[in-house]
């Protein structure tokens, strides 16, 4: 019997509620809101309570996908990031920085979104930045 509670942070929004993912022999069997940290104080919203519903879902992406000849093909992070840097660089040169929009995610942390905003504004020189919660 390998019973564990793994403390983690909800990925659904920037609040940072914490919960323990309860597992038995590697299988998720429950979620316990963390009562020992100040942010969420033993409370969760419906998304937090159900945060594990996608973890072993068949549709979950576990690697980046690159479209090759019209088909999405699994790729390594190196390959995906290199391709993105090349293509975005080329688009910026050809059509200017405002030809691209940056869409951030409410599922990332504040810090990640801050960096994303830096990437858009300081590296790519565009103010075209918005987030998924407004889409």
């Amino acid at each position: 019997m390998d019973y564990k509670n793994t403390l983690t942070t909800c990925i659904y929004c920037g609040c940072g509620c914490q919960m323990n993912i309860e597992t038995l022999d590697g299988q998720i069997i429950g979620v316990w809101p963390s009562k020992t940290q100040e942010i969420s104080q033993g409370k969760l919203c419906i998304k937090g309570w159900n945060v594990t519903s996608f973890s072993d879902h068949a549709d979950r992406l576990t690697t980046p996908l690159i479209r090759k000849n019209g088909e999405l093909v699994e790729a390594s992070w190196d390959e995906a990031l290199t391709l993105m840097a090349e293509r975005l660089g080329a688009i910026k040169t050809e059509s200017g920085p405002d030809s691209v929009a940056f869409l951030a995610s409410a599922k990332c942390t504040n810090e990640e979104n801050y960096l994303f905003n830096k990437l858009a504004r300081a590296v790519f020189n565009t103010n075209n930045i918005d987030h998924c919660a407004r889409l």
């Binding site: 019997m1 019973y3 509670n5 403390l7 914490q18 323990n20 309860e22 038995l24 069997i29 429950g30 979620v31 316990w32 809101p33 963390s34 009562k35 020992t36 940290q37 033993g42 409370k43 969760l44 919203c45 419906i46 937090g48 309570w49």
Partner: protein
């Protein structure tokens, strides 16, 4: 207190019964850095990390393990409300009494006060001295003085805050149904906030009538600060007054809602003014 509990847990984990069998583990809380969560301690574990706060519904952990591991024999470090939760779960086949040893400890007077607890200690009391019962929730006394219209207005004002997280149900040791009426479209149409008044909250209140053992976990986990256990305290009071049933008190007592409803209609007698019962029961 905590040192004594740790010592007794260590002893129990190393003990063998007359058949030479040991407990497979002890369900309790464990500290990891600043965080505390439910855990299963086994013989040889560092018990200096065993904690008794903050409270989690540990009988739910026992139940999850009993259901998945049919041979496992567990101990559990339990408060009065954990033991009472066990009583109502065991009689509904959620825990196997033959595979559980309860190591009970008494709550402090302060905890009894915070929980409005009528019995702040378990029957299997191993550590601590029973504290005096806590007071009744003052909202219950106030509620008794309200008119029907005021009561309705009170709950309306409370329930409209609900964000429909289902946390009250999820954390409740007595909510373990595979298909929950609170997710049944017939009662609760999906996609709306606040949830339907008063069906959403009264479903659980009705179902808690013979189950709620007043651990207050639901109220603590409610992000909307709805005084949910006022409803359940009122239900429990009626259950005792009208049907003589006290959830959590007796493993052998059959819950009246499971045995009486089919055969005999329930009579709402003079023990309580029927006019104070705002709405007809909801069930399935």
């Amino acid at each position: 207190m905590i040192d004594e509990i740790r010592k007794i847990v260590a002893e129990r984990l190393n003990e063998t019964d007359d058949k030479g069998a040991r407990l497979d583990g002890m369900v309790a809380l464990r500290r990891t850095g600043p965080a505390v969560a439910p855990h299963v301690f086994v013989a040889g574990d560092d018990l200096s990390t065993l904690e008794i706060n903050p409270r989690y519904p540990l009988m739910t952990v026992v139940s999850r393990l009993h259901k998945r591991l049919p041979d496992i024999r567990l101990g559990v470090v339990a408060r009065g409300c954990d033991e009472r939760a066990y009583v109502e779960m065991a009689k509904r086949n959620q825990i196997d009494p033959e595979r559980l040893v309860i190591l009970g400890f008494a709550c402090t007077a302060e905890e009894a006060l915070e929980c409005y607890c009528a019995e702040p200690f378990p029957k299997n009391l191993v550590v601590g001295t029973p504290a005096a019962p806590g007071p009744q929730n003052p909202i219950v006394a106030k509620y008794d003085t309200m008119t029907l219209a005021e009561r309705r207005a009170f709950w309306k004002q409370q329930f409209v805050k609900c964000i429909k997280c289902y946390g009250c149900r999820n954390i409740c040791p007595e909510c373990f149904c595979e298909a929950c009426a609170m997710e049944d479209k017939a009662w609760v149409e999906p996609g709306f906030l606040a949830p339907p008044f008063p069906a959403f909250h009264l479903i659980r209140a009705m179902h808690m009538a013979s189950r709620c053992i007043a651990c207050r976990q639901c109220e603590h986990t409610c992000p909307a600060h709805i005084p949910l256990t006022v409803l359940y305290d009122l239900m429990r009071r009626d259950m005792e007054a009208l049907l003589g049933y006290v959830p959590g008190a007796d493993l052998a007592a059959l819950p009246p809602l499971s045995v009486t409803l089919e055969q005999t209609p329930l009579l709402l007698g003079d023990a309580h003014d029927p006019a104070t019962i705002p709405l007809a029961p909801i069930g399935r």
